[in-house]
Amino acid sequence: MPLLGDTGQGATATFGTSSLSLAVTKILIGEISIDMLDVSVLATTDYLEMIASDLKKTPEVTLDFVFVTSATAPVVGGAAETMTVTFPQRTGETAAATLVGTAQFTSFKLPDLQLGQIQAGQCKWKYNGDTGPTYTKATV
């Protein structure tokens, strides 16, 4: 049986309008979730009976990167743009899996400055639900 699974090495985050070029060290992807609504009635026994709500909540993505003072920084609250997380492309895949949609930067942390520590920045974005976000599996 072929070995399954892969690490995050080779993943990419791209920004369709701001075209930021960041030396990314970590991409943390939040969850896509939906609330469950209680529809239990007096006749219900044992467990709560629930149905899914109408709309899903979009994920927030956190990006850690090596901070370079000459690089353009993310603009918090800037115009919405297409933000794409492309998963590492495995051997045999024509195109890697992606998570893509329109989003805005919600936070940007400048690096702490101290002896013996590489300057590290962090930014976060949240998909705004206008287009996507959609996860598309890899194409083989």
């Binding site: 080779g10 791209t14 369709g16 070029s21 492309t86 024509t94 893509v100 287009t131």
Partner: protein, 93 residues
């Protein structure tokens, strides 16, 4: 260089059925020396955005080819700093 550009769209489910929504970017595919098409990056509204690991030496030529294919100018975006550049920053060179 054999290049293929596809418009990047998503399907949005509506009460009237699925609707295609544009993302204002294109996917860029390149044929490698083994004859395989590989996804190498995107073209956003301003520039070619390479995927991790794409050779920095090829970014300019792919960007020019995309600009020609799409019929519009693309800015030159520097790739993320290399390990050597990061090491130089860390040692204050």
């Amino acid at each position: 260089m054999e290049l293929r550009i596809e418009e990047h769209v998503l399907l949005k489910q509506t009460d009237f059925g699925p609707v295609e929504k544009k993302l204002n970017q294109h996917k860029v595919f390149l044929k490698n020396t083994a004859g395989e098409w590989r996804h190498v990056g995107y073209v956003g509204t301003r520039a070619f955005l390479p995927l991790s690991g794409f050779p920095p030496e090829l970014v300019a030529s792919v960007s020019d080819a995309c600009a020609k294919e799409l019929g519009r100018k693309l800015e030159s975006v520097s790739p993320p700093p290399s390990k050597r550049e990061i090491e130089a920053l860390a040692s204050n060179e």
